[in-house]
Every structure is written in C-alpha cells, then in structure tokens.
C-alpha cells in the first residue's frame, strides 16, 4: 500500500442530514461508500484528498422502490442488490446485465451504483445503461434537492455538475418501452475494464449510449435520430463511428474501439429486431 492509511481522516455521520451538514461545513470531504474504487487509489498512492465522509451507515439510501412509473434506486444500492432486485429485473433488465459483468462477486457485493456515477469513469459499466434509459440523478444538499438528467450530468473527463456540498442520493428511471440491450467488450469476461461498453433501448426512437469511447459516456443522439428516420444500419454505423471520440490507451486503440462500436450497433439492431 502506497498510502499511510493512518494519516487519513474519516467522519462517520449517522444520518443523511448529518452527512449533508458535514459536507456543507467541509466540502473537501470525499464521500465513500463501497470503496471498491477508493482503495485502488489508496493502494496506488493516488488519493485526491485525505478527509473522507463515510456513507456506509446511511441505510435509507440503500433500497430499490417503484413509485408512479419511476424505478428509484438508492445511491448505496450494491450491484448484488441490483442483480437480486425483482423491480430492477422486471423494469431495467439491462442494468442487471451490466451489474453481473462488473468485477466479480466480491466487487458486486460492495460496489454501489452511486459510487459508479460519482467516480465518473468513462468506462463505468452501469453508466451507458443510465444514459440510454434517460435516468435522472437526484442530488441533495442542506439547501435542498435537485434532479439532473443523466445525459447532462457529466461536463467533461471525470467532471460533473455535482457541487462539492451535494450528495448523489438516488437515480430515477422512467418506465422503458422497447427491448433493452447491453454488451460489454473487455479482455476477459470478468474483472475487466471495458474497451467498449454499449447499452441500447429499441424504442420508436432508439436510445444508444456508449462507454470508453470518449471523455464521458456518449449518448449517440445523431445515430438515434437517423435510425428513427429509417436510415440503413450501415449508414447508422458510419454515423456512429463519427459520433464517438475514442483514444489509444493501455486497454485498447481508437481504431479497434471505433470498429467494435460500429459492430455493436449492428448487433444491437439485429438482436432487438422484432420477429
């Protein structure tokens, strides 16, 4: 471990209100939940701060519910809980698919959906699902609550509209119509960070979101519009190739990512074709 953990501070609020008060008074506090990303930084010695806010005991943020056609997933819901939730299985099966392919069981038992959103990696595997589903991020501070469309949440690489005194408390997902689809491409089936990850909903206007092909999750709005207007899948795939901005990095190359993304679109389209 390259970080001396005994130099770190941990505040442990017992309620959400207490947590929000602590965050207002000290916005440098870094919220921690499942710690599956945080302790990687501890190991590498790349922590972005030394004072942490433990959300672990805020049980109210760890539940899945359905109200008025909205699926509400609390920020502290783990991937394992998502996989087992009858609500998520029924209403958002593509999120169950994504959760099953994140890490292995040990990571799924600890990692949370709020953490995946907050960590803001362009390779976060639940994120294309939330984008394609037109999810809403619920943010709360001492001043109150606000709702931000997921597609407007990120402003750049690992940057979002979340203010330092706000916590992500839940995501709300409207009822989906049309077939849902998810596919992750990595070096191996488990424990791999995605080279490309795509989620799609085959609605009248299809919705398509891709991870690991740009600084943030990409929502392919031009490709969606073209498909809705009856473009051929080959034309749509070419359009999608122009709509993404992949790079060469340790995991893959821009060319490979572009080719795979275009192929995934074709796969999405044929897999969700009405028979």
């Amino acid at each position: 471990v390259r970080t001396a953990t005994n130099t770190l501070e941990l505040r442990q609020p017992r309620s959400l209100n207490e947590a929000l008060g602590l965050l207002r008074d000290d916005p440098a506090l870094i919220p921690l939940a499942g710690c599956t990303d945080l302790y990687v930084s501890v190991n590498f010695g790349t922590l972005g701060g030394s004072r942490f806010l433990d959300l672990g005991s805020l049980a109210a943020l760890r539940r899945v519910s359905v109200t008025n056609d909205l699926l509400v997933i609390g920020a502290l819901t783990t991937y394992t809980e998502i996989i087992r939730s009858r609500h998520v299985r029924k209403l958002l099966p593509m999120l169950v698919e994504a959760a099953r392919q994140i890490g292995g069981p040990q990571i799924q038992n600890r990692g949370t959906i709020g953490g995946n959103i907050a960590n803001a990696s362009p390779a976060g595997d639940s994120l294309p699902v939330l984008s394609a589903a037109d999810a809403i991020v619920v943010l709360r501070s001492v001043a109150g609550e606000r709702r931000v469309p997921f597609t407007e949440f990120y402003t750049g690489y690992r940057a979002s509209v979340r203010k330092p005194d706000e916590l992500i408390v839940a995501v709300e997902i409207p009822r989906q119509s049309g077939a849902q689809w998810f596919r992750k491409v990595g070096t191996r089936a488990a424990q791999a960070i995605s080279k490309v990850v795509m989620a799609g909903v085959r609605d009248q206007r299809p919705r398509i979101a891709i991870g690991s092909v740009g600084p943030t999750i990409v929502r392919a709005t031009k490709t969606e519009a073209a498909l809705a207007d009856g473009a051929s899948i080959d034309d749509a795939a070419r359009l999608l190739g122009d709509e993404i901005h992949p790079i060469d990095d340790a995991r893959s190359t821009a060319d490979y990512r572009r080719a795979v993304t275009m192929n995934l679109l074709r796969r999405f389209w044929s897999d969700t074709q009405a028979r």
Binding site: T5, L10, R84
Partner: protein, 156 residues
C-alpha cells in the same frame, strides 16, 4: 471496535481507514488471508463479511464494525473443501486457495458448475488452470451438514 471474527466476539482498536486485510493480518495475527494485487482484481484476500465474499483489501476497518467476519482460519482445517482441494490438487502455490474456498462457501450448498465458474470470476489462479479447482469443489457433497455454508440472504 466490536465485531464477530470466526465465531468469537472481538474488540480490536485500529485506525478506521486501515484495510480490513491489514487488521486481520497484523492486529489479529490471521495471516491465512493473503494479499495479492491489493486492488480488488485477484481475490486472494477474499473473506466473508456477513456471509458475502468481499476483497479485504478494499474494505476499511470502519466498515467491519458490528459485522460477522469469517477468514480461512475460521474453518479450523476441518472443512471438507479444504481436504478436497488437497485431494484433487486444487492448490499448487496456494496463494489463491483461502480466497477460493471462501468464495465457494458464499455460493451456498451444491453449486452447479456454471455457478461455480461465475462465483469464482473474482478469484485468479495462475497455477492450476482452474480445472482441478472445479473438480475439488464438485467432489464435495453439499448435502452433508456444514459441508458448505448457507447462502447469504441479502435481498432487496
């Protein structure tokens, strides 16, 4: 801080951000839990927290408060899986073995081969090629009392 470790109540004083892995090995003297990668990739440090498999390198000590933690020492060298891993040469260098065994116990009794493979996706072995591990696990008769643990119940 109080918790139940391998069936016994304990009270250990350690920094809340210290890794559960380090507290187990250093404060508690339980070196059966191995450190491999230190970043949640290899599963060598797998322990059970309230029956669920976790990487002890990714858990702050603060999050162990009030839980029930089981390490390989908690099986007291008498678990049928431990003998099966020896009988079927499911262990070669042995670094992955404690984590493998605990990850299997988290699956509950008599897991299918597909479930074993999926359940061990978070545990890397660089010696055996996994086949001997799968054979060892499948050789254990889960119908015997306490042969394999009970499934953790955490439903939403």
């Amino acid at each position: 801080m109080k918790l139940t470790l391998n069936g016994a109540p304990i009270d250990v004083d350690a920094h809340p951000m210290k890794r559960l892995l380090d507290v187990l090995r250093e404060e508690c003297g339980l070196t059966g839990t191995k450190e491999g990668c230190g970043e949640g990739e290899c599963g060598a440090c797998t322990v059970l927290v309230d029956g669920a498999a976790v990487c002890a390198c990714l858990v702050p000590w603060a999050h162990a408060e009030g839980t029930t933690v089981t390490t390989i020492e908690g099986l007291e060298d008498s678990h049928p899986l431990q003998q099966a891993f020896m009988d079927h040469v499911g262990a070669q260098c042995g670094i992955c073995t404690p984590g493998m065994i605990l990850a299997v116990i988290a699956l509950g009794p008599d897991p299918s081969l597909a479930k074993i493979k999926e359940g061990l996706t978070g545990n890397l072995c660089r010696c055996t090629g996994y086949e001997a591990i799968y054979r060892a696990i499948q050789s254990v008769d889960g119908s015997r009392p306490s042969a394999l643990g009970s499934r953790p119940s955490r439903n939403t």
